[in-house]
């Protein structure tokens, strides 16, 4: 049941407040009433609005903000908005609609509203159920399961949130919250393997913040994921019934390489980017380059999981070059770092088979079986490689939520 107080206004009576003004008020009240991170009446109510109404309300909100600046700084007490020729507003009327006091600077106060609004729409996107493709939705996503294509779903709220933050003054690129929001939301989307929405989020974030190392790294990871068997198999299983924004594995690996290099150009100490650059170069068949990057990453890292990945990927590169003894040493080091992980044993079994050493091949696969059967095992980091960099995504988003909760509610 949709909460009535957050329902879209349909009033068209000239004597009453115009519906578009009412919608801005309703939306603002919902934003200020919303408890970040919770599914509350504000989430349920605003989630029921159409894409067209949401987009129009955001545009009207920004229009009123710009009007207020003109009213406070420009000549005359009233000003007609060309779009709504029948209505005039005084500065105090606009302040009341936007919830801004005369004492405070309108842009700063409206920035606060825009940021809180972005969090409301973030929470709707993350927490509210998506059942159908809203009419006019600019983006849709295909859900996949275990490499097979599923149904098409959509949410408009990521785009609405981006529109709100695009209006932050003096410029979104100058606002620390905007940077934090893009870093948090792209990390969370990638952690949840919601690549369809991570992509426009990253693209838009980089348009605003082109030298942000975290966003550049995230873009590299996104394209690395698009090249993966999981995504590629989903694309193949979708057939020709839908057009998916996924290219060939090679095209995505090349984009991943580009973004990882750009991230390293901004932050040469970003070991994760160097590790993944090495992995991507190996997948592109450039094994010598891959080994050089992976060795640098391993030498620079003290993180256990990164060392595990580094040794496994170095093992794969050495095997590709026919250096089986070197490969074996890397896989054994990986097994020493994560004794309960099956993948190093599976890799060693393969090497044993290649060497014609059946006992070694069988012994290794039996160790892999034993690891898999151990219910106390922490598992294999290989299984979470694609989402490993985004483990702290929830914490990043919670920090954004706390930031907007710190403002004064009107």
């Amino acid at each position: 049941m949709r909460p009535a107080r957050w329902s879209i206004s349909t009033s068209h009576q000239a004597a009453e407040e115009p519906s578009w003004v009412a919608n801005v008020r309703i939306w603002r009240a919902a934003v200020e009433d919303h408890k970040p991170g919770k599914i509350d009446d504000a989430v349920i109510g605003i989630n029921a609005w159409s894409y067209r109404d949401l987009a129009a309300t955001v545009a009207d909100l920004v229009g009123l903000r710009d009007l207020l600046v003109k009213l406070r700084t420009g000549p005359g007490p009233s000003f007609r908005l060309p779009k709504y020729a029948n209505h005039t507003f005084s500065a105090s009327e606009v302040e009341a609609i936007l919830g801004v006091t005369p004492e405070e600077g309108a842009p700063r106060e409206v920035n606060r509203l825009l940021e809180r609004g972005a969090i409301l729409h973030t929470d709707i996107a993350l927490l509210a159920a998506i059942e159908t493709v809203p009419y006019g939705a600019p983006e849709a996503a295909m859900r996949g399961r275990d490499g097979r294509a599923g149904g098409v779903v959509a949410t408009v709220h990521w785009e609405i949130a981006r529109r709100l933050l695009d209006a932050v003054t003096p410029a979104p690129s100058a606002d620390p919250f905007v940077r934090s929001w893009y870093r948090a939301t792209t990390a969370l989307l990638q952690h949840d393997y919601d690549l369809a929405y991570a992509r426009p989020q990253l693209e838009h974030g980089l348009a605003i913040l082109p030298n942000d190392a975290a966003l550049l790294f995230g873009s590299g990871c996104l394209h690395e994921a698009h090249a993966s068997p999981l995504v590629q198999s989903m694309v193949r299983s979708a057939g020709t019934t839908v057009s998916l924004n996924v290219g060939s594995p090679t095209s995505h690996l090349r984009l991943a390489e580009r973004y990882f290099r750009e991230a390293l150009a901004v932050d040469p100490a970003m070991t994760q980017a160097r590790l993944r650059l090495g992995r991507v170069l190996g997948l592109l068949g450039r094994h010598d380059e891959a080994i050089a990057e992976l060795q640098r990453a391993v030498q620079a890292s003290g993180d256990r999981q990164m060392l595990y990945y580094g040794e496994m990927f170095l093992g794969a590169e050495k095997r590709a070059l026919g250096l089986d003894e070197d490969a074996r040493a890397h896989y054994e080091r990986a097994a020493g770092i994560c004794p309960s992980a099956p993948s190093p044993q599976i890799a060693l079994s393969d090497l044993g088979q290649r060497a014609g050493n059946r006992p070694a091949a069988l012994g290794a696969i039996q160790r892999a079986f034993a690891s898999a059967a151990d219910r106390q095992s922490p598992g294999d980091p290989w299984w979470v490689y694609s989402i490993a960099p985004f483990a702290n995504a929830e914490d990043l988003l919670d920090a954004c939520r706390r930031h907007v909760q710190g403002g004064t509610k009107r």
């Binding site: 275990d146 068997p229 198999s233 079994s349 088979q353 290649r354 069988l362 059967a373």
Partner: protein
């Protein structure tokens, strides 16, 4: 010789189990022989009663002297590799369990079976055993979860199949596409070229999985692609029965180098029959 059993050892094992028919082929004890198991069909039905003289074998295009053993009396090592990723649930899981049970029912007293299940993990639920009660319980206990490590599981199934003397069949069932293996398809396909385990695959979906298609082809097995799992048990038992009706052709290579890839061609003289056999073997090491 990499990828091929030394025939003398195998022959001793077969004699001890009483698994050779009245026709006793002669083998060279000085040159390691090559064994190729061959399925011969006509209009989809296995052809029986062929003798060694009926076959022609070409090794890198060079005709070879053929010895022959049929092996429906040779104990079978059946390695079941079942996909239990998250998509295998409900009716699909029920059909898989029923199919596994039917397969076990069709085994003979000296046959052995193993069960490997795989999601993102590859688990040996039961090693090769003639005690099928444990295996039946293992099949009943499987619960779907996670992604699909089809490639790793196929490698594991081939290792388990190769671990014991006897004819080995790895029957791999999957309704998905590999999404989480460490090994890559080219690596495991290379293994399939080297060892004697026959891999038969059963896949579900519109398009057959490319890896399963290739690994079954290279091992001399077959791939069956089904729209649904409704008659999975019939498919499983058909594959098992077909495997029992393969011929085991042995020959000692002459006129060819021992190392490298050897292209194999098997024909039946004077008849237009369908031959299913591995396309070659990797000699030397």
């Amino acid at each position: 010789m990499t990828g091929c059993r030394v025939l003398v050892v195998t022959l001793v094992g077969l004699v001890a189990s009483g698994g050779i028919r009245a026709q006793r082929p002669t083998f060279s004890a000085r040159t390691a022989a090559i064994q190729v198991d061959v399925l011969v069909t006509e209009n989809g039905r296995p052809v029986r009663g062929l003798q060694s003289d009926d076959f022609q074998v070409f090794d890198n295009g060079v005709p070879q002297q053929v010895d022959l053993t049929t092996f429906d009396e040779i104990p079978l090592n059946l390695v079941l590799a079942f996909d239990i990723s998250s998509s295998v649930r409900g009716a699909r899981l029920d059909d898989l369990r029923a199919g596994g049970a039917r397969l076990l029912d069709a085994l003979k007293p000296r046959d052995r079976a193993a069960l490997i299940t795989f999601s993102h993990t590859v688990t040996l639920d039961s090693p090769l055993t003639g005690s099928l009660g444990d295996l039946r319980s293992a099949i009943d206990r499987v619960e779907p979860r996670g992604q699909t490590s089809l490639i790793d599981a196929t490698h594991a199934a081939m290792m388990v199949g190769e671990s014991e003397v006897g004819r080995s069949l790895a029957l791999v069932f999957s309704d998905g596409i590999d999404t989480s293996s460490w090994l890559t398809s080219d690596v495991v396909l290379d293994t399939a070229r080297r060892i004697d385990v026959v891999v038969c695959g059963v896949s579900i979906g519109r398009t057959p999985d490319a890896f399963l298609r290739d690994v079954t082809e290279l091992s001399g097995g077959t791939l069956t692609n089904l729209e649904s799992t409704t008659n999975l048990d019939q498919t499983f038992t058909r594959l098992l029965n077909e495997f029992r009706q393969r011929y085991l052709i042995s020959y000692s290579p002459r006129g060819v180098t021992s190392r490298g890839w050897h292209r194999l061609e098997v024909r039946v003289k004077g008849r237009n029959l369908t031959i299913k056999a591995r396309p070659g073997y990797l000699g030397g090491s």
